[in-house]
Symmetry: C2
Amino acid sequence: MSKMHSVAVIGLGSMGMGVATSCIRAGFDVYGIDLSDAARQALAAAGAKGTSHQCTDFAAQLDAVIVLVVNAKQVNAVLFESGLAASLKAGTPVMVCATISADDAKAIAAGLAQYDLCMLDAPLSGGAAKAASGELTVMASGEPRVFDQLEPVLNAVAAKVYNVGPEIGKGSTVKIIHQLLAGVHIAVGAEAMAMAARADIPLDLMYDVVTNAAGNSWMFENRMKHVVEGDYTPTSMVDIFVKDLGLVADSAKAMHFPLPLASTALNMFTEASNAGFGQEDDSAVIKIFSGIELPKKER
Amino acid sequence: MSKMHSVAVIGLGSMGMGVATSCIRAGFDVYGIDLSDAARQALAAAGAKGTSHQCTDFAAQLDAVIVLVVNAKQVNAVLFESGLAASLKAGTPVMVCATISADDAKAIAAGLAQYDLCMLDAPLSGGAAKAASGELTVMASGEPRVFDQLEPVLNAVAAKVYNVGPEIGKGSTVKIIHQLLAGVHIAVGAEAMAMAARADIPLDLMYDVVTNAAGNSWMFENRMKHVVEGDYTPTSMVDIFVKDLGLVADSAKAMHFPLPLASTALNMFTEASNAGFGQEDDSAVIKIFSGIELPKKER
């Protein structure tokens, strides 16, 4: 159980890089996999034992794999199409942290089981800063022994680990419901600020009132600041919420359940993407409203 | 300007009672008006100079009037139909704190002007506890001299006063946009918790994850606790949001502006009211979702 020395992190974006450096700090031998030269060099400089663009390169010596790619298609690519699953030691735990549907999580776990590999369905929340400091929130489901195997890794990367039970897919479902709230909060923040602009209320004053009153949300406070400053440099993009609220909609359909607000928010982000704002900060969903003037970035 | 000794508070509900006792603590002679015997007795016991069910009873000696009734119809009743406006000294400032539309605020200000009375359009936020401690948030518009006249009263009741400018209606508009956010946050909190119930995620765990992550809102944290505990004893009722989101819709129509999320949330609260939950806590909007089992209150 305590034989956890070598860990591979696959996907060195802002979250993966933070997770990998947290694992280095905790004393593991860390191997980083990414297609980006820059990301691999950055991790090597941070103390990785090895890096590669090839998923299979360190397979034989790994005690755990952490998958931090963007969607289910990429998870399948790095685990199965690359040949990694076939190359890992039997019993190696695979921690899948991408935001994916419960059905995809189950299919991936079934695929891993064919190679005698076990999965933790372990989406993350907290953003790049908390990833870097090893203080993420993990909402995970899987067999108790997989939690036990991965405990040293979870301790290294997370401030809070929620155990949603043994059933693969439950962790992903909790993350998806969380994203429902996050996405609607951004969209309604935009709707409220757009109405304020229409009513000639100064947006900085509106922001100040809301963040000091019961109408506040974490996302309003974080994202509507970008609107007040007129700065749509992406921290997280509109297209990410087209994807995540799309997963919310797929999950709702699979469980035959209506989501009046989340479906509306998905329409808003989809319209924003089609209008050309998909690669801007997700607060740019406010640009779907016509007939208003928004603050411009100061130069 | 500093001749502010006697203040009447009209409407002694949970907010009005808190405002009145805050004024007593600040050393004003406070007069309380309410139809409820119990409310009047409570304020008398708290040190009021006088109480009555009749709005005109202390009119001649008042230096300011604070109106804390529920809607525009009641504001018109207590100010005009009662004969109060005709009985006040010319120049007496009237602080209207009800959540009303910008158009209603303007009409009331025009009515007061006919009696040489000036108005502060001054909706409140913060709830009963902050009202009692004199720490409300006030979002107010009106002439600078009215702000000056009412400064001692504002100091007594508010921790934060936002000056939205001289135009009557702007204060009300800021409050209405705030209510847009508050109402949608409750409705989407309910939608997310309903989906969690459908997915057999324990609601206390879902609550714990969200309140420790970026999907949190002030309303989610406050109201979804009632869902987790199965306790729909009203702190604020479903029907209040049918009213407030109705004002949001009216205001949007008046400014020819679409509100995709707020209009959906209004439908959800209206359905909850028609289904018989209008007098329950506003978190009971979750009861519009069928095919789920919600936590029951422990006895």
